[in-house]
Symmetry: C2
């Protein structure tokens, strides 16, 4: 809307001429036509990142799992449901992107079997189990491309943030990883973020997700400049 | 808002002096602090039923799983997440209700074990399985109370609607069950409903969920009057 345009006009145009690909939201992994596995991600952090990148002058493609959020103004949204669909959409879009920011809370696993019809509760039968299989690792796959964009991961952890996030950055082979304490912040408008890179880690700050997203965009722009990208 | 008040003023006051308890939305069954099992229910049908009952003059208590919907005007909403929480809230509220309308898509099962911390993917380990256990059956429990309210169930089926819905009505021991073809209608504003009672079944109609909800309230009011309740 108009207000978003005015606010955007005052943001520094750090990303002019660049394409930024952002993933956001949860994924929904179907068990049958009705049920599925999901997670508590609201998508708010990723939508704030997409908006901040757009304010900074980028062309922004937002690949989003199911959320109730409206697409940020001027952002091209691709709506997906499962991790596999998100993987496919990212791989279609990533060739045009210089920056990839993976904020989505992608399910690590999906049900090994998807039932075509709703599974019924039956008298006298014991409780079922759900066998799982691994989903594709979207961030690691993008980082492993021959000419990858600058990759930024997110880690939502419920404990031992520094240890898990630093390990995740190395395992995914990405230059920058953003850690947040998920269960405290899912669905909320504010957040507390910590940046992990090859030099160590330092806090990005806490507060409103859009304010933090703008700081993150500044950090990424500075890194692109230092790397001559 | 004002428009809802004006529209409500023109609806017949079939439920004046009655309390109607409605459940709506999906449930979310936690696996760990981040992940869970859920289903595709948007809550729209249940919220329309709550609004229609309120328009008809009832005091309405709406026990709702996680949705993005605003509470209908004049309706008392109790927000819950899991099936067990929904069961507890219903049992707390049901004593004051003459009518219970169970539209919620309650998970039949929940993970047998809830992990206090986010479960990590580990190198070299096979994919996990999720063992399930049965949730309480809210509708059957209310129908089995010594002095139950007039109970109305909903059945969302992906196939063989008539067969499954008629069997569900008898199994749950409720006088009225509303069948809808779930996967076609989840998240949409319109719906197609079929009523099942001791006499058989007949279509309630198809179209906007609020229009259908008003028809359902009329059907329930007529049954209460015939039964001298």
């Amino acid at each position: 809307d108009l207000l978003q345009d005015i606010v955007a006009a005052f943001q520094p145009k750090l990303f002019k001429g660049r394409t930024v690909l952002v993933t956001a939201g949860p994924t929904f992994e179907a068990i049958d036509p009705v049920r599925g596995l999901t997670n508590r991600s609201s998508g708010k952090m990723g939508y704030a990142v997409a908006r901040a990148a757009r304010e900074a002058g980028a062309r922004v493609v937002l690949v989003s799992g199911p959320t109730a959020l409206p697409a940020p103004h001027g952002v091209q949204r691709v709506e997906v449901s499962s991790a596999q669909e998100m993987f496919d959409a990212v791989m279609t879009q990533v060739g045009a992107a210089q920056v990839f920011i993976a904020t989505a809370a992608v399910a690590d696993w999906r049900p090994a079997q998807v039932h075509a019809q709703k599974q019924k509760k039956r008298e006298g039968e014991g409780a079922p189990t759900i066998a799982l299989q691994a989903n594709p690792d979207i961030l690691a796959a993008v980082a492993a491309l021959p000419q990858p964009p600058f990759c930024v991961g997110f880690a939502a952890e419920s404990e031992k943030l520094a240890e898990h996030a630093a390990a995740k950055r190395v395992r995914k082979n990405v230059p920058l990883l953003v850690g947040n304490l998920g269960p405290d912040t899912f669905g909320r408008d504010d957040n507390r973020l910590e940046l992990f890179d090859a030099a160590g880690h330092h806090p990005l700050g806490s507060g409103d997700k859009l304010v933090l997203a703008r700081k993150l965009i500044e950090e990424i722009a500075a890194r692109l400049e230092r790397a001559g990208l």
